[in-house]
Subunit: 325 residues, 2 copies
Amino acid sequence: MATDAALDQQEFRKALATFTTGVTIITGMAPDGTPVGVTANSFNSVSLDPPLVLWSLAKSSRSLAAFDASPYWAVHILSADQDALSNRFAKSGADKFVDLPVETGAGGAPLLAGCAARLQCKTTFKYEGGDHIIFVGEVVGLDRSGVPPLVFHGGKYAVATAKTDALAFSDGAVYDAESSFTENFSGYLLARAHFQFYSQLRAHIEGAGLSDSEYFVLSVLIIKEGRSIASLNALFSYTGHAITPALVAQLAAKGLVRTDGAGVDALCYLTADGRTTTVRLIVAAKAVEADMMAKFGEWETVSLKNLLKQFILHTDPGLAHPWSA
Amino acid sequence: MATDAALDQQEFRKALATFTTGVTIITGMAPDGTPVGVTANSFNSVSLDPPLVLWSLAKSSRSLAAFDASPYWAVHILSADQDALSNRFAKSGADKFVDLPVETGAGGAPLLAGCAARLQCKTTFKYEGGDHIIFVGEVVGLDRSGVPPLVFHGGKYAVATAKTDALAFSDGAVYDAESSFTENFSGYLLARAHFQFYSQLRAHIEGAGLSDSEYFVLSVLIIKEGRSIASLNALFSYTGHAITPALVAQLAAKGLVRTDGAGVDALCYLTADGRTTTVRLIVAAKAVEADMMAKFGEWETVSLKNLLKQFILHTDPGLAHPWSA
């Protein structure tokens, strides 16, 4: 590692990007009553007693005069779904507050809604910091919502989740890393997570007298009817489940599906009974999901869904989609 | 939101915990040559030109005298697997550097290995910050490793991954949120991710003339042999795959498994051929994983595995474990 008086600015930015942060919007009120607000990830805590926090504002910022003149400002720690709000306050120029519901905080600083936490502050120190001014303020009021916070990680908006090193089950079963490739193998983790979820749902599917394959057919017909047996089969072939005329005939015999045409080109529709049965199973599936996610945690659920979507997108071999096929 | 001059310190801590950060270790060298180091998540960037960063050190810290006396210090932005190192430097007292390989940085500050990034700095300003001192330093050297960084989120070590709002596929297929519960349903995402992965592996399994159920049996026998058919069935019942004497007889007929005993109590062992076939499939599975994870990204893979483990642990209904059954 070479030290270098003429530090490469791009390299400096890249190194800084490895430090993950939350995302905040800092708001204030200019003496003339104009609200100001900027997106900042340079926020951090300083002191517990007195309660102090800091953030840095570019000397070139249009909002500098307002924050310089008015001692009160509010830090909004953004929630995971506030990336659009972050983008809005990251741009300079236009009225950032248009159509936003705001409350009035200490010293007139506008308070935005839907954040993970809000800290109302009064400037204690303003410090020189190169091309930025460091604002240190005492926290005079705060609130918290419990919603998962937005994260800025590797130059992108992100979500975070608690770290787990090993699968240590409550019954004391511990994986022996020497004996197998299993525990840390992505394929095992995906399969186990899927089947662990699905096994709860299967109780309802079996209760309705259906096989997994039959449930799959119903679950996509309720999204879009009039699919051919061939297209249903194409949709599910990657799961290892074959959708055949015989399978659809079973569903027809149960009074759940009707067909139009013959062989694999026959088009499939739900009967009224089929629709009722499917809606009931979807309600049961949502209940299973709600129960599982309550055990798993709200923050973790946001992260899991996010990550599974990423995985599905990045490793998609070109599979058909249930909502477009 | 009430403002309150006597701010509740626990509430202040909880509000601060919603702001996610990376984790750093700051090291320095006392004038007597003793290395010092502290874990800090109060690090942040300040200025690009000149390149300035800051962090805060408690006035009560044993290391304050050293950082106060020596102008050089090094910021280590920790990698995702350095939580133990973070814990080591978060405690006061003992020799934190014992058995650690270190290089010597600018001004004698020790440089630790294995970090996401390292910034060598020289103090520019020391500022008053309540019960902390704010150190602002100019970055005089840096390096980066490309490994995923450690995150501190909600009071715990965490990993983060880029945020995705919608499943927008490259072929233009976009989910219609009005038509179905599918796209954002955890069960769908888990199933799709699992089967998308597994379908790549299935090509190899079918190439070896095996069904999914047969592969499942082989994959756990190579971890531990001498399992009964009943125990194999118990292990896989949550997947919807039944492990029966007939299935095991098929594997025996293929020369891959031999049994000892009769019925569901028969104990199962791999033959030499069975072992070879299974090892080949495991190698293929690892190759599928490596290929998928290369598409998905290293940071994301760490996060995905972490999150699936969390999910499996938190929603485990008490399933048998392949490595302990």
